[in-house]
Structures are given as C-alpha cells and as structure tokens.
C-alpha cells in the first residue's frame, strides 16, 4: 500500500480501513467468497444456459400438461405416481447431472491447461480454498437451477390438476436432488483435480451414469432371475451385488426420503423400482399368477446415504491431495 500512497497510483484514502479489517475477513472470508462469486457469476452463470437447462428438465411435466387428459384418470391422481421417479431419472440424472458434470469436470483441469489457475495459485489463497470455493459455487448454482425447475414443475402440475400430494412431492424432490448434486459434483470435481485432461474427468462420471442406466434395463433383469444354486434367491442376492450397485444405493436414498414424505409408497412407484433392485417380485405359492412387490431392505436408506457421502468425500480428498502436489505452470 505504501507504494501507491507514495506514488499516488492508488489514492491513499482508498486503503483506509484495510488495516482495520480482522485477519479472518482478510485471510479467509474475502478471498474465499470472491472465488465463490467469480465461479458462480462469471464461470457458470448465463441466462441462456439457465433457461435451457430448466426447459430441458421440464420436458416431462410439459408433455404431461399437453397430453394427459384433464382431469387425469383416478389412478394417476398422485403427482408422485406420474412424475416422481420419472422426474428424477429424466430431469435430474439425464439432464441436470450431466450439465453439472460438464461444469465440474472443466473447472480445475481446464483452468490448469488454460493457465488461469496459475494466476489463482500465485495469490495468497490456499489450493484447498480455491477448490472448495469453486465446488460450493457449482453446488449452489445447480441448486438454484433445481429450485427454479422444481418451481416450474410444481406450477405446471398445479395448473393441470389439483393433485392431492403436491406438497409431499415438492418436499421429496427438494430433499433428494441436493444429495444427487453433491454426489456427482464432488466425484467429478475430485476427478478434475486428480486427472490432467478434462475429457477423462468428464467421461468417467458420464460413463458411470450410462452404465447405471444400461444395467437397469439390460443386465439387471437377468440378474433378478432365480439362481441355479439357490432357487429362493436371485443372482443379484446370491452374489450380494447390491453392495457394488450404485443405482440401488441412489434409489434407496430416494426411498428413504419417500418414507418420510409419502409414508405409504404406492405400487406404481414400487413397480418402477424393481429393476433398480429396491423392490422384488414375490409370487404367491398357491396362485403363481399373483404376485406382490416387496421392498428388499439390503441396506437401510441412511446407510446408503452415508455410503454415497463417503464415496464422494473420498474422491474429493484424493483429488485435493493430488492437486496440492501438482506443479502448475503457464
């Protein structure tokens, strides 16, 4: 400061109060919040992007608005039955999360390759703070998208028909999406820090999602057949594949939230979760053509949630450790 005061480049009165700032504000809060704000408003935000994602996320409610008769048939009077899982799979896992992955993957590795990271790390801000600031900005931006999209969805549904379960639907979606955003965002961020190429950091989580979906429709139905070694168990249960099935844990957390918001989960929702491994078909011994859907309970939803949180955190911590040691040059 004395340099400017002497030279008059920056007028001395402009720096009044700087020395009076507390060291917490100066060393931690201001640099951290500036990284957060810059990532949120400059790197991520654009009106076009916001509008496009929200529109894409609301294709299902829009189609429902256009094509479903009004009033809807009695069995579809529940908005959760019509949209619940469909909205999670389409709007979140197939639209919002890939956008989040795309943004997170380029956040660190792209900045390193462009040389802009060198400017940041040459300032008195720790690399941990840079990464956490950026991650929280991504998370907040996509939470904003999520909230706006959910608002639009709810309005569309309310215009369509006075569904009797709007509030529980809104609440379950509101609680569930941040978990998905956290999980995929933190993993991609970890990969972005650990890997040198944006492409690789982008491909790994995208492939994970694709494999998760393909397995639900192409591999898992075969695994739910009775095992030749033990007719009472499916292959999925016999080999305890649910331990490694990300799709199962993701939907198990959703079921945990539904346990709170919709205490009695409907058969149509349960039916959609059979292929994910959260419900199984149990045939009646006396009348084999009759069956019921039984929840599997391999893991409690809390355990699945902890597992997802821990997997994400592990990726992030490994990423930070690699990023801290990485040599950053122009």
């Amino acid at each position: 400061m004395n340099v400017f005061q002497g030279k008059g480049i920056v007028r001395s009165e402009n720096f009044k109060g700087f020395s009076a700032q507390s060291s917490f504000m100066k060393d931690h809060f201001i640099p951290f919040s500036s990284i957060f704000k810059k990532t949120f408003w400059v790197d991520l935000h654009s009106f076009k992007r916001l509008a496009f994602i929200i529109l894409a996320m609301n294709i299902m409610p829009i189609l429902m608005y256009i094509y479903f008769p009004k009033p809807t048939p009695y069995e579809f009077a529940s908005v959760n039955d019509i949209l619940g899982i469909g909205q999670i799979i389409f709007a979140y896992l197939l639209v919002c999360i890939p956008f989040l992955i795309f943004s997170s993957a380029s956040m660190i590795s792209e900045e390193i390759s462009r040389g802009t990271m060198l400017i940041l790390v040459s300032k008195p801000v720790s690399r941990k703070k840079i990464v956490i600031g950026k991650f929280l900005a991504i998370l907040s931006y996509f939470l904003l998208i999520h909230l706006t999209s959910l608002g639009v969805t709810s309005i569309l549904c309310l215009i369509k028909q006075p569904f009797n379960d709007m509030l529980p639907f809104f609440l379950s979606q509101l609680l569930y999406e941040p978990i998905l955003l956290y999980f995929f965002g933190i993993i991609t961020m970890g990969l972005s820090m650990a890997l040198k190429q944006t492409k690789t950091a982008l491909l790994i989580p995208i492939i994970t999602i694709l494999v998760m979906f393909l397995s639900v429709f192409m591999i898992k139905p075969a695994l739910f057949q009775p095992c030749i070694f033990n007719k009472n168990l499916t292959y999925y249960e016999a080999f305890q594949l649910y331990h490694f099935d990300l799709g199962y844990h993701i939907m198990n957390v959703y079921l945990g939230i539904l346990d709170i918001t919709f205490p009695e989960i409907s058969q149509s929702v349960a039916g959609m979760l059979v292929n994910w491994g959260n419900y199984k078909i149990v045939y009646n011994d006396i009348f084999p053509e009759e069956f019921s859907l039984v929840r599997t309970h391999y893991y409690s939803p809390i355990a699945s949630l902890i597992l997802l949180l821990c997997i994400g955190l592990t990726f992030f911590i490994i990423g930070i450790r690699i990023f801290k040691r990485r040599e950053i040059t122009s």
Binding site: N2, V3, K7, I9, M25, K26, I30, K38, I119, P124
Partner: protein, 220 residues
C-alpha cells in the same frame, strides 16, 4: 469479465474489501490509461491492453517488489514502448525484477543486471559499469558534417591520428573506429578550425548489452 471486475477480483484474493478494491482498481485503470474501457470485457482488449491489465493486477495490493517475466512478449512496438515506460515509472517507487531475453529492452528498463549463462549467475552489476568493463578496446563514433566526403578524405590521409578505420555508411554518415578518443577529438577541432566544417552530429556508438552478454558467453 471487465477489467474493473478482474482487478476487483484480484484485490479480493489478497483480502481487500470490495469498496477498497473497487477504488484501487479504478485508480490503476486511470494510471494505465484504461479508464474509458471499463465497460469492455478483457476478451475485447488488444494484446497491449491485456498486458496493462496484467501489470495492474500485480499492483492492486501495493507490493514492494514486483517480479515480471518477459513483460513485453507478444506485443507490437507501440505496446512494448508503453509497457517499458510504465515499468520505468513504477521503478522509481518500488523494486522491479524483470526477467527477459530481449536485452535491448532490459537496457531501457533496468539499472542493474544479472546475467545467467547455462542457469548459473555469471555477473551482477550496474549496466553502465558492465558496458565500461566489457566494451571493445577501440571506440566507434558516428559523424555527420556538411561535407562528409572531404572529412573522410582527411581522415584516411591521417592514419597517425589514431584513426583505425573510417567509412561512409548507408545513412551517408561517417563511421570511425579509433583506439585514441582524445586524438580524434583534437583532429576534429582542427578540421573545424582550418576547413570551416559544420558538424551536424557527433556521438559515440554505445556497446549494446547483447555484445557484453555474448562476450560473457564466450568467456564461460
């Protein structure tokens, strides 16, 4: 991102409050003559303007020492001159360390120089002293008179005056190499007196820093 926003962001990374950072950033933009460009994004700036913003961003927190690596790279001659001028101005108030391969620019910006050969420090000295120390044995002069042909003939016919070599260059001026500077000056004053020659220009050609560097390289 505009230049103002960028500078405010940089200042905040150093822990400056937004109001303080904004005022400081405005002052710096004014100093670098960019106050009219605050609404433009940096992407719209020319190379020279970008370099100015880069330089301004290093000054935003008031450092006592500035380390600049190749500050004039990729700039056109106007941009180069402008950055060199700013560095010279700033150097009156802070220590500036410039790393560059362009020695002619170093000569314009710096007082002291450290020369590295193969990654090892070979010498650290003031540029003036270094030139005196490593200049050639003979001195080179440039002379321009109202009758250069006559003066050249006089020079060539008087080898005993210490003039080693003299010729007329492409710019029609006389170039003289001598080992005895004093004798040349005396010979020239005689010419003025006796022949009535009018002198337009007479100066000694400075040894470029590059020659000193090459000499040091050869020595190493």
């Amino acid at each position: 991102m505009t230049a103002l926003d960028y500078l405010v962001f940089m200042a905040q990374l150093f822990g400056l409050r937004k109001s303080v950072a904004r005022a400081g950033a405005r002052d710096l933009l004014e100093f670098f003559g960019l106050e009219e460009e605050t609404s433009k994004t940096i992407a719209e700036f020319s190379g020279g303007m970008k370099q100015k913003v880069g330089l301004a961003s290093t000054l935003i927190h008031g450092p006592k020492l500035l380390i600049l690596d190749e500050p004039t790279t990729n700039l056109d001659p106007v941009g180069r001159k402008s950055i060199i001028d700013y560095i010279k101005q700033l150097s009156t108030d802070m220590s500036i360390f410039v790393s560059s391969h362009i020695l002619s620019e170093i000569e314009q910006m710096c007082e002291e120089v450290t020369i590295l050969v193969n990654g090892k420090i070979v010498i650290t000295d003031k540029i003036r002293d270094l030139k005196d120390k490593y200049s050639l044995v003979e001195d080179k002069f440039v002379l321009d008179t109202d009758d250069n042909d006559l003066v050249l003939r006089e020079f060539l016919s008087s080898r005993d005056e210490g003039i080693k070599k003299a010729w007329i260059g492409d710019d029609s001026k006389i170039y003289i190499i001598t080992e005895q500077k004093r004798k040349l000056q005396e010979f020239l004053s005689n010419l003025i007196r006796e022949q009535g020659i009018l002198i337009n220009d007479f100066h000694q050609v400075e040894v470029p820093l590059q020659d000193v560097f090459i000499k040091l390289m050869e020595k190493e």
